[in-house]
């Protein structure tokens, strides 16, 4: 698995490629720890390049959602059908602290809406 850190509208974005399982999920949790500790209210994960995820990776998503819940949300971009189904099964897709976007444009619109709501930068 590879993780590339970028930004959209000053929001941290982690573009992930490969498979996320119990052997490497700690790499993802380490990556999101920095913005979480910094107090970021929105974090995005671009899952376009993710072929496979299981409970090892999902646990990291759940933990991140929990830590962002009172101030923002975790968004994922373009998960494939199988990954999306897994996120539905574990209940993330109905969690208010979790968003799913088809592409970066949708994510940007949500960030703009969040900024307008919170009255400042994310």
């Amino acid at each position: 698995m590879e993780v590339e850190a970028t930004q959209i509208r000053s929001v941290p974005v982690f573009a992930i490629t490969g498979e996320i399982d119990h052997s490497n999920a700690s790499t993802l949790s380490t990556a999101v720890e920095t913005p979480l500790t910094r107090g970021e209210s929105v974090i995005l994960l671009d899952l376009t390049g993710v072929d496979y995820i299981d409970s090892g990776g999902v646990s990291v998503l759940l933990s991140t959602v929990r830590r962002l819940r009172n101030r923002g949300w975790l968004g994922v971009i373009n998960p494939n059908e199988n990954v999306r189904r897994l996120l539905e099964i574990v209940g993330l897709t109905v969690d208010h602290g979790f968003r799913m976007f088809a592409d970066q444009d949708e994510a940007e619109q949500a960030i703009d809406a969040h900024t307008a709501t919170t009255g400042g930068s994310v």
Binding site: E19, D21, H22, S23, Y52, D54, S55, G56, V58, S59, L62, S63, R66, E81, N82, R85, L86, I89, V90
Partner: protein, 164 residues
């Protein structure tokens, strides 16, 4: 769109499958999970399991193995995985000589732990846990094959045993 799961009574597999299994034995280490998934993917392809259901099966097998990996400590007992294809189903059995353990307290809120068992149940057609005296907890995962497709060549007929 994911195809509908076949609806069939799942007969009980025969007890002795050693001569008909495709097997894999690897140390119960996280770094071997990818090889385990590749093994399952190959078995699923041979059984002509739908690709999306093959993904579900990989997740379920990974969950079953992850428990052994998490609790194996430094022993790294070998994980033994056996894939048997019948005319109507694919059965994956996982054993590592240890008994299944519930996730210990700590390490995060309940909703972030213990995902493995619910995921296994959600992803495959049948899950069985068998506590054996010599092989520890045997996890048996069954995926029914599409009855509209011709069965894989040379596969075993379904067992005549009743499902419990």
């Amino acid at each position: 769109m994911r195809p509908n799961k076949p609806s069939m009574r799942i007969p009980r597999p025969p007890v002795d499958q050693s001569s008909h299994c495709r097997t894999l034995s690897v140390g119960a280490e996280a770094r071997n999970l990818r090889a385990l998934r590749a093994f399952v993917e190959e078995a699923a392809a041979s059984a002509r399991l739908d690709v999306d259901r093959g993904y579900d099966l990989k997740v379920a097998v990974s969950e079953a193995c992850a428990n052994a990996v998490e609790h194996s400590g430094s022993e790294h007992r070998p994980l033994q995985v056996c894939a048997t294809t019948y005319t109507d189903r694919l059965v994956i059995e996982i054993a590592n000589g240890a008994h299944f353990r519930v996730n210990p307290a700590g390490g995060g809120p309940p909703e972030e732990r213990g995902l493995g068992l619910p995921l296994m149940v959600a992803m495959v057609d049948e899950v069985r846990f068998v506590n054996t005296p010599d092989r520890g907890t045997l996890v048996r995962l069954t995926m029914l094959l599409d009855p509209t497709l011709p069965p894989p060549a040379g596969m075993r007929p379904p067992s005549s045993g009743r499902a419990r």
